[in-house]
């Protein structure tokens, strides 16, 4: 699994500069405009794009065939892309907390927004990775956009419901989304391993 992970990092090394530039630009715009949402939403994008690109390269290079013939297990192969996705998503998300170094950003609303977007990033990641394994990269790109829109719409809908029920929607929704995102990782990985176990290469 480490071999595949190292291969992915080397494969994507050419793109890392672009990721870094995007992160800096989004962070800068967020900081100047006083809007934490602008940057926090980036974690939804980064967590999926890295494994999507890695699998896209692997499909072109037939890496999975080679890796499986070389003793990498199907589960290791499936899980290695989770490792890659999380190793991009989590640091990008963690950088959101740098906003709180700026006094004007230190509000409960911003903190809940960061947690919510972290959870949203994880939920999209949890949904899209098994799809990449099941239907391939090309079809997954379309599904990825649909999942992002659906998750956002569900969050807004759920927030309205909580508000109607008289609760604190931001706090409840942030908690639910983050919990769903975190708990979804092992479930999603298990589904992906199952897909890989049955797959012919």
């Amino acid at each position: 699994m480490i071999g595949t992970f190292v291969k992915d990092l080397k494969n994507l090394s050419g793109q890392l500069l672009y990721y870094a530039i995007i992160i800096v630009v989004f962070f800068g715009v967020g900081a100047v405009s006083g809007n934490v949402y602008f940057y926090a939403g980036l974690s939804i994008f980064c967590g999926v794009v890295a494994p999507l690109s890695a699998v896209s390269y692997d499909e072109k290079d037939n890496w999975d065939k080679f890796a499986l013939a070389s003793g990498v297990t199907r589960s290791e192969l499936a899980v290695s892309r989770y490792l890659l996705g999380l190793s991009v998503l989590l640091p990008v998300w963690a950088l959101s907390f740098l906003f709180f170094a700026i006094p004007s950003f230190r509000t409960a609303e911003n903190l809940l927004a960061v947690f919510t977007f972290g959870g949203l990033g994880l939920i999209v990641f949890d949904c899209v990775l098994p799809l990449i394994y099941r239907i391939g990269v090309e079809k997954s790109r379309v599904v990825y956009m649909i999942v992002v829109v659906a998750v956002m719409a569900l969050s807004v809908g759920a927030a309205s419901l909580v508000e109607l029920a008289g609760g604190d929607p931001a706090r409840v929704i942030a908690g639910i989304i983050l919990a769903l995102g975190v708990l979804g990782v092992p479930v999603s990985a298990a589904v992906s391993c199952r897909i890989y176990r049955r797959k012919d290469f």
Binding site: V6, K7, S70
Partner: protein, 282 residues
């Protein structure tokens, strides 16, 4: 003799193709050539042996164990070269070395770079900038650099010029100097297989037609050019397949069943494959 690969009753059903009851052996210390037309089932069989395709039935054993029970250390003993290059195209040889040492427990960097130098593979270029021949040589260098005692090669010389093919064959001869080593190789270039192989296995339409010692095969069969009348005078059991042409009949015959005085020409492995694939069976 111990078999490094033993396949028995292998079945796999696809929508438009199936492997039926495939049986194959690769004895220790031998080279087995796996031949057949495109789509006959060679690559699917090889993928079953490497664990890339889940069979519907039958047994596939490598080193005496079911493929699904092979450990990482066992897998390290198998060097695989699949038809297309399976190495990451964005990596150069140094990167490949750094990845492979984390994939194979017995990875030998010195051996890898030794093969790279022997094949004049440029270290600074990315794999995607390599020619097809260079990519195949890189794949072979990887397969030979982690202590493999069994090579499973699916079309390793396809698309290569004769010089590159000859270099690869030389490398395989070197590999076979160790009596514990074995090779299963599929190729459409039958002249290469005739030089290299001890056994030939022929698959047609998803079923194994024969697996025999190469020398026994060429001794067993001959090609007889004759007239229709001469053909009908032969024992039908002596005729494996017939091809009829404008100027007479060519028959693949079993030498041992021919009457005295009838001497067929030598049948090459290619002749035998063509007669079994395209000939008419009496």
């Amino acid at each position: 003799m111990e078999d490094l690969i033993r396949v028995a009753g292998l079945c796999k059903q696809f929508r438009d193709f199936s492997l039926q009851n495939v049986a194959l052996r690769v004895p220790r210390g031998s080279v087995v050539g796996f031949i057949g037309e495109n789509g006959a089932g060679k690559s699917t069989t090889i993928k079953c042996i490497l664990g890339l395709v889940n069979p519907d039935g039958g047994a596939v054993e490598v080193f005496g164990k079911p493929v699904s029970a092979l450990t990482k250390a066992d897998r390290c003993g198998i060097g695989a070269v699949l038809g297309e290059s399976c190495l990451p195209a964005n990596l150069d040889l140094k990167d490949v070395d750094s990845v492979m040492k984390r994939v194979f427990s017995r990875w030998d960097s010195a051996a890898f770079f030794g093969y790279a130098d022997r094949f004049s593979l440029p270290r600074g270029k990315k794999i995607r900038e390599f020619s097809r021949g260079m990519q195949q040589k890189t794949s072979l260098a990887v397969a030979l650099s982690h202590g493999a005692r069994l090579l499973v090669l699916d079309e390793p010389t396809s698309g290569l010029d004769p010089v590159a093919r000859d270099e690869i064959l030389d490398l395989l001869y070197d590999f076979m100097q160790d009596e514990g080593h074995s090779v299963l190789i599929s190729s459409h270039i039958l002249s290469d297989l005739e030089k290299l192989c001890d056994y030939i296995a022929f698959i047609h339409g998803g079923s194994i037609v024969f697996e025999e010692e190469k020398d026994a095969l060429t001794e067993k069969y001959g090609v007889l050019r004759c007239t229709e009348g001469e053909l009908s005078a032969l024992d039908p059991a002596a005729v494996a397949a017939v091809r009829r042409g404008e100027y007479g009949v060519d028959a693949l015959v079993l030498r041992g069943r021919l009457p005295a005085g009838v001497s067929p020409a030598r049948a090459s492995v290619e002749d035998i494959m063509l007669y079994f694939s395209r000939g008419e069976h009496l």
